[in-house]
């Protein structure tokens, strides 16, 4: 199949970017989207041109590194699919595919399609962890956990931190990401101890980094490659209200 590509090119965060058009011939429908970009880059390098910078790592949908805004949707036209799991058979022969980076004040562009998502790391540093004693690992089944709660916590824990929620949201809100992390810990006994502090710290950091507010538009849930539910945002809202109402003044 032959395709036309319109790709955002930008040298670095301080320079102005622009779209560049590429005609790519003999693309195999079996190629993944990233393999198609590899194929394009091979041709660009052979032609003495600068290859397109994009992020990738595991290429099997679990690391959260790849993230491209393809034809108006994060990770492209399929639901519950990361960019690396998207295949060229989902596009038509002769189709024009427009590829943009995640757009958010909190995710500045590094180069071309690669954005700096360290804002997510900063939110995690603010509270996305549990404090445990060092030493040998504890017996895994020492604390009984209701299976339904464990499953529910896992539904939140499947977040890969790719940033599609931010990219999809009209306000660049990171609420689904933060909610998934807050809920994951708050549901389990090990995380409950610090739940009130955690939610306040993570929300404070999220605001400080310039993410937008949640408008309950639910685009994040629709475009999350792991299908994380906005019910977790409601859960975080409950955790936050409870923390604000019940925690002591100096805590």
């Amino acid at each position: 199949m032959d395709i036309k590509l319109k790709i955002w090119r930008q040298k670095n965060a301080s320079t102005k970017g622009r779209f560049e058009d590429y005609d790519l011939k003999d693309v195999s429908p079996e190629m993944s989207f990233l393999e198609m970009l590899d194929y394009l880059n091979k041709q660009l390098i052979e032609g003495g041109k600068e290859p397109v910078t994009f992020e990738h790592d595991c290429r099997e949908g679990i690391c959260g590194t790849c993230g491209l805004y393809i034809n108006g949707r994060p990770h492209g036209p399929l639901t519950h699919t990361t960019t690396c799991e998207l295949h060229m058979r989902e596009f038509k022969d002769g189709e024009t595919i427009i590829v943009e980076p995640w757009r958010s004040k909190a995710f500045p562009i590094i180069k071309d399609l690669a954005v700096d998502r360290s804002a997510f790391d900063k939110i995690m540093h603010a509270g996305g962890f549990i404090n445990v004693d060092t030493g040998s690992s504890k017996e895994a089944n020492a604390i009984p956990i209701n299976k339904k709660i464990a499953d529910r916590a896992f539904d939140a824990a499947v977040c890969i931190g790719c940033g599609a929620c931010v990219a999809a949201c009209k306000n660049s809100s990171a609420m689904l990401f933060v909610a998934a992390k807050v809920s994951q810990y708050a549901m389990l006994p090990q995380g409950k101890v610090e739940a009130a502090d955690r939610v306040q710290r993570m929300v404070e950091k999220m605001d400080e980094l310039g993410f937008g507010y949640c408008s309950n538009t639910y685009a994040c849930e629709f475009d999350c490659p792991k299908g994380i539910s906005v019910e977790f945002i409601a859960q975080m809202n409950r955790e936050f209200i409870s923390a604000k109402m019940c925690s002591h003044k100096n805590h």
Binding site: K6, W8, F19, Y69, N71, G72, R73, P74, P77, I98, E100, R103, S104, K105, A106, A168, K170, N171, S172, S173, D197, Q200, R201, V203, E204, M206, D207, G210, F211, G212, Y213, C214, S215, N216, T217, Y218, A219, F222, D223, V230, E231, I233, A234, Q235, M236, N237, R238, E239, F240, I241, K244, N250, H251
Partner: protein, 221 residues
Amino acid sequence: MKQSTLKLSSLSHKFILALAGLFLMLFLSTHLLTNLLMLTGDSSAFDQAVEFLSTNPIIKVVEYVLFAAFIIHIIFGVIVWLNNNKARPVKYYVASGSETSYFSKFMIHTGLIIFVFLVIHLVNFYFVKLGLVAVPEYASDSHDFYAMAVVLFKEPLYSLIYVVCFIFLGFHLKHAFQSAFQTLGLNHDKYFPAIKVISTIYALVISIGFSIIPVYFYFFH
């Protein structure tokens, strides 16, 4: 952890916006019930309701809460909108193809239309009651809202604006009702689908309920 009490978080802004909005929705429901009394054939039932609402001391207190709710809802709505505008300085080239709660994208726009209507509405009725605007000659006194409304509803442009504004209010409410529950953390798969249905029904009832009154007076009275 220590935090300034003056600096509210994004979540706190949304909670306050949602609480004020829910109170305004409760007010709209009572306002609709009162207005529907105009359809009883004569003004007596409506006038009795106006008399009760104008003299009851509890309603007087609630009136101040209502003003506070309006002001808070408007101010916090604008704050949320301003902050959201800053979060994506460079927009996408391709418009979003994501499936979303459609009317959530236009809350500030529908809100602005409702605000303009609110000002017109206050000038036409509430300011007359306060004595800030002269009592029209066709009204017996500053509380004769029935006569004031009937004359206004006989004007095609006024009735058209009135109906159009309530259609936009319906769009606002369709998202607002269920969104307020989500913001307050009340989203659970057991009951949230029902809240979404109630949200649509509520928006339709308010929108149609208020709109039938000018339509009735314009065409059938």
